[in-house]
Structures are given as C-alpha cells and as structure tokens.
Amino acid sequence: MASPITSFSLRSGRWWGAASGRTMVVAGLLLCLVLILRPDRALAQEGADDDQQCMVCHSTPDLTMVLPSNEVLPLTVDPQVLVKSAHGTEAEEPVHCVDCHNNTTGYPHPPFAQPDFRSWQVQMSLVCGNCHEDQAVEQQDSMHSRHLAAGRIEAATCVDCHGSHDVSWANAEHPGVDRRQQVEACGRCHSVIADEYRESIHGQRLAEGNADVPACSTCHPAHQIEDPRSAEFRLKSPELCGQCHADAELMSRYDISTDVFDTYVADFHGTTVEIFESLAPNEYTNKAVCSDCHSAHRILPADDENSTVMKANLTRTCQRCHPDAEPSFSDSWMSHYRPSWEHFPLVTAVSWFYKILIPLTIGLFVAYIGLDAGRTWLDRARQRREWRRARRQRQQQKERKEP
C-alpha cells in the first residue's frame, strides 16, 4: 500500500503510463492545496509565481513520462541548473518557465503533441526567436535550417548548441566565446570532423587555449553556416584562409610566412580561382583551393610527417588531381615561396634575364625610334620648306613675266 504522497513520487514512465489518471488527480489535489495555502501568490500572474507552480510538480525526483515513441522523458527540473543558466537569476531579466513553455501554461497540460522527443525539441526551439530575434533571422538560411525545412529533424536547432535549461551564458561558457565548447558542441553531431580538427595544428593549439587559431565558427559562422560544398564557398575559401594567413601582425607571432596567399594567387591554381571568383562566382572550378592540398580540417604544418603537404607526401597529394604526377612534377610547385636565389634559383635567373633584356631591348628600340623620328621630321620639314620656296620662286618668276 502506498501513501498518497508516495504515489505522487512517480518514478518511471511505465508507472506513469499505467496510472496517469490517478497521478493527475493527486497532482491536481496538490495544486489545489497550494492554491488554498497561498492564494495571494497563486492568483498573481507574476512569472515567478508561475515558476513555483511548475516546480511543485517538476521538482519531484525521477518524474518521467513515456512518449508515443516509447522514449522515457525525464520531467524533473533541477532548479540549480536553471539558476546557473543564462536565463537564471543572474540574467538581467530572468526567464520564466512559461516564457518558453508557452503552450503549457495551465494544468492539466495540453497533450504531448509530438511523436517523439526530437520533434518536441525542434518545435520548442522555435520559441527562442521570440526573444532572440536577430539570431533567429540570421540562422534562417543556414545549412541546419535548410535541412530542418527539408524535414531532417536531426539537423541542429538552437538548443543543440546552446543547451535548453542549462542554456549557456554569453561569457566564458558560451560556444562563441569559449571556442573549445564550440568544438564540443559541433562535435556532438559532426564527430568525425571534430576529431580531425582536434588532430590539426589549429585544434591542438585551441586545446592549449590559443585565442588566434580558428575554431569551427571561424570558417562556418555559427548562425549563418553555408553549404561548404557550394561553388561560392569553394571559390572564396582561399580568402577565408588568407584572413589570418595574410595578416602580417598575426602571423609574425608564429613565424609563419604571409606570402602564402599572394603566391597562391600568383600561381596557376590561384589565378584561375581568383578569376572564377570575380567572373563566375557560382561556377565550380576544379583548380585546387587551400583545402584541396592542406585538407579542410586536419591541417598540419608542412614539417609534420602526417601533413598532406610535407615534401614526402606532396606527390601523393598532387596525384589526387594529377593522377600521372611523379615526384619531379610536385617539385614544380614553388611551395608558396617567392622565387629567390635560395629558393628556385632558375626561376630567379629567368626573371633577372628578362628584367635586363626587356628594358635593354625596348630602350634601344625607343632610343633608335626617337632619333629616326626626329631626323625624319627634320627632313620632311626641310623638304616642305624647299617645296614652298620653289613655289614662291615660280610665282615670283610668273609675276615678273606678267607685267
């Protein structure tokens, strides 16, 4: 025999499912008790009082319910978690239960209208935009939203990255601020890519607390994630890398060359990509972008033995696009060096040869032309003078004869 109060302590969905009617009666009685005991508060429409009404039931340990999908949904709310969250007491304006659970304002609650927990989560995420309007608008065209719109409910919504009752602060714990949180958050779904990133030099440095290295959202802006497979993304990706790698001040801290972007654009691949970007930004080009050689997520320094661009691995990387390439072919890539007598002396020699030959040849041509044109002009002027003089003389002779 269970006492009435004990029976309220619902422990399992199975139990709830079997005895929901009885439980509801008990909960309703309890609610009445609260209403009787504290009529002033219960009748007030303050959110704080509403919260307490919710907590009357939802602080019950191990309160659960069985969803139509047979998932068991815990209904117990830990007030400590709420308090510590961005919506908690330290927030300028604490967010109350019904602000988010805005269709669950009375008791008994409306029936659970979603087939499973995920659908419920997706549905609930829509309420975030009621307050966070800008972010809701921002993410409308993101890759995740597009997938959601196409009916793939596993695509991330607000709560997947920011949490729900434990929604993170816009401070150290926010995934946009502590970017290590970001890798965790993204990695919950994109686990393989997150692991690749963690192996990369960027990921290693991020784990050490470095604030300069890119994390997920540096390249895939959190609320406006584009399709990284699109032609636009491909074409602008070198500029994305260049934002940091052509920044002299930033790169000087790590002793990394800032020539990488310019030397890329100066070379065949980069020139083509650059032209495509300005003339046909929606068309694909198969000329390599940074990530084709350096990989997109597992980027390693060129002296790392696992790097795709390490000298010993370079030919294999070239062969992904140039299947017939041999080691000497990969030597034709100047490794982002500007040619100098130290690196690529033949190229330097050719450049110097022409830097002397062109001014010399064209200089001699122009000098000769100047002389020749001057003389020709003088000759022709003299000729004209003589011709005019001859004509005058003829006229004078004619005049002399006439009188």
């Binding site: 927990f117 694909y284 030959l357 122009v366 032309i369 003389r375």
Partner: protein, 365 residues
C-alpha cells in the same frame, strides 16, 4: 618619270597569307595570354569575360598556339622551298653589312653622315624584327609546351623548369608585345604606312628610301630572276615529297605532343570522404538530475523553491528486519517489487531499517 610611278613586287600571296595568319594568331595569343598574366587588372577581367571565362580564354589561347605552330612548320618548309627550288638568296640572314647599315643610319640620323645607307631587300630593322619573331616563337612554343604538358616535361626535366617556363613565357610575352608596339608599329605604320604586306607591292619612293640597293639591282636587271622551269620542276619533284613527309611528320608530332598527357582530372578534386553527420556523442534525452534538499543554500531563488515534505518511508508488507538478506536485492531501484527510489541505490540494510522499521512500528500503532 615613269620609273618613279612604277611599283615593285615585294611579297607573294603565300607570304601575305602567312603574315595575316601570324597577325591573327599573335593578336589572339596576346589578348588571351596577357590577361592571364595580369589577372587582377580590370581590363584583363573584361577580356577574359569576352572570351567566355577563363576556360574559354585558355581554349582560344591553345587554339591560336596550335595555329602558330602549324604556321611555323609551314614557314620553315616554305623557306627551304625558296632556297632549294627557287634558288633565292639567303636575304634574311644578318651580316656585317647590316651592322654597317645600322651605324650608318644612326650617323645619318645624328647628322654625322650626309646620306642614308643604300639597303638591300631586307634592311637591318626588318631583319631585327624577323629574327625577334623567330626567337619569340621558339621561346614561347617551348615554354608554352612545358606549361601545357607539365607532367611529360617533368619526366625529363627537374620540376623547377615549370615555374621557370611560366616566368619566361610571361616575360617573353611582354617583350614580344612591346617590340611589336614600338619597333613594328613605328617602322611600318608611323614612319610610312607600308601596305606591302597586304598589297604585295612597294612604290619607287618606298624602295628608294628603304631598299635602295635592291632598287638599283632591280632597275638594272631582271626582277628577281627565277631558275629555268625545267630545273624548278626537277627540284620540286624531289623537294615536294620530302617536304610533304616532313610536314606530315611535324603535324603528327605536334598533335602527339599536345595530346601527350592528361594533366589533371576534369572533375572536382576528390573531396574528403567524411561522413558529416555522425551524432555518436549526442545525448538522446536530457538526463534527470537529483534534486538537492537545501535549495536555499545552493543559491536557488525562492521562486524556484518548493518546500517538499520529505517522503515518509514506505510501509512494508512483511516484517522489516535483516532476515531476508540485503533489502535492495528485492527492492532493486530498477526492479519490480516495490522498487526503492533511485537515491536509495547505495544504501545498506542498517540505513534501510533506520527509517522503515520505525515506520512500520508507527503504522502498527
């Protein structure tokens, strides 16, 4: 005065066609090549757009390059025809006389010499231009081939030759275009408008100015005498088949060399074979959390606090004592027989009895 209105044949129809094709291929190569070298300039982008984007521009460049190569093959064979069959003098070969003529011309231009040099069929300025074209075509053809077929090239040469060829190709292009814009434009467009490449003929006055030695010779004797027909015929019978074979060989060679390799795949580079969505770390459901008893101490505000009466221990249907062994072996928190609440999970019988034995007594009373 009749002599002064006379015109002199300078270029035959084949030379004029050659020049026209050279003009066409050179211009196409220049306006499709230089925009690639100066790709960031806005005029370059306009030109590239005009050729239907960079891939179209490169196609035109390659086509014009093949035209120039075929033209060069033809030119070499035609020169040999003129030398061997027609027994023309090697009038394009530079010699000491050209140096003398050049110095003489400069001296005249400086006013140091009263007369202009009397120059032959090809004066020194024309020889400079001809040999510059030969040099330029050789360099551009060679480096262009290397850039077009980098894999085949690097089977023979070290890799560094490719960027070196690219540098040379670009610089040589600038040299060629600037030479045309200065030397060629000045001599045949600005100084005089020399139409002989289109009409085939030069006036007496033009001959007098630039080819005085040739004029004198042609006024004295026959106009460029040809060998007797039977000799021409005899030599042609030997030369033409040889030239035909050579031409076929050269064209096949050209075709082979420019289709020797498939430099790169024509599809997008293989993208990383990563399954993007592997949510193996995604919590399926939020996990229930134990509720602390002292909410006020934990900093929970009043609005979230509900004073909960500690739940009375359940009253057992059997005597509560140690006789049945471990309480939790039956009242397993996950079990079916009056399962204990989850926070009882680790408790020992002593702790169980503390409350439940008392509760039983109270109930009996």
């Amino acid at each position: 005065m009749t002599e002064q209105t006379r015109t002199f044949e300078r270029f035959g129809i084949l030379e004029r066609i050659e020049h026209f094709l050279l003009l066409l291929s050179f211009t196409l190569l220049a306006i499709t090549g230089l925009p690639q070298k100066f790709a960031t300039w806005s005029i370059s982008k306009t030109l590239i757009r005009g050729f239907g984007g960079i891939e179209g521009t490169r196609s035109v460049h390659h086509t014009a390059a093949v035209l120039l190569i075929i033209l060069s093959i033809f030119h070499v064979l035609y020169v040999f025809y003129k030398i061997y069959v027609l027994r023309r003098p090697l009038s394009m070969l530079p010699g000491l006389q050209d140096v003398r003529d050049g110095i003489h011309m400069v001296a005249y231009n400086l006013g140091l010499s009263p007369t202009k040099p009397a120059m032959d069929r090809y004066n020194f300025a024309e020889k400079i231009e001809y040999w510059a074209v030969v040099w330029g075509t050789l360099i551009m053809g060679l480096t262009g081939y290397m850039l077009w077929n980098p894999i085949a090239t690097t089977r023979i040469l070290p890799g560094e030759f490719i960027p070196a060829a690219k540098a040379a190709h670009g610089f040589e292009a600038i040299l060629a275009v600037l030479s045309i814009l200065t030397w060629h434009v000045y001599h045949v467009h600005l100084k005089y408008f020399n139409r002989s490449m289109f009409t085939g003929r030069l006036s007496y006055h033009e001959m007098e100015e630039e080819h005085a030695a040739e004029l004198k010779r042609r006024l004295q004797g026959a106009e460029r005498p040809l060998p007797p027909p039977h000799e021409r015929w005899r030599r042609s019978r030997l030369y033409l088949p040889v030239a035909g074979v050579l031409a076929a060989f050269a064209l096949l060679f050209t075709y082979y060399f420019f289709t020797i390799e498939q430099t790169a795949i024509t599809t997008l580079p293989p993208q990383e074979n990563v399954n993007v969505y592997i949510p193996d770390r995604l919590p399926k459901l939020p996990t229930a959390t134990p509720i602390p008893v002292r909410l006020a101490e934990a900093g929970v505000p009043e609005r979230l606090q509900v004073e909960r009466t500690p739940e009375p221990p359940a009253i057992s249907s059997h005597p509560v004592d140690d006789a049945r062994g471990d309480c939790l072996s039956c009242h397993n928190v996950y079990g079916y027989i009056a399962p204990a609440p989850i926070e009882h999970a680790e408790r020992t019988n002593d702790i169980c009895l503390d409350c439940h034995a008392v509760a039983e007594e109270v109930a009996r009373r």
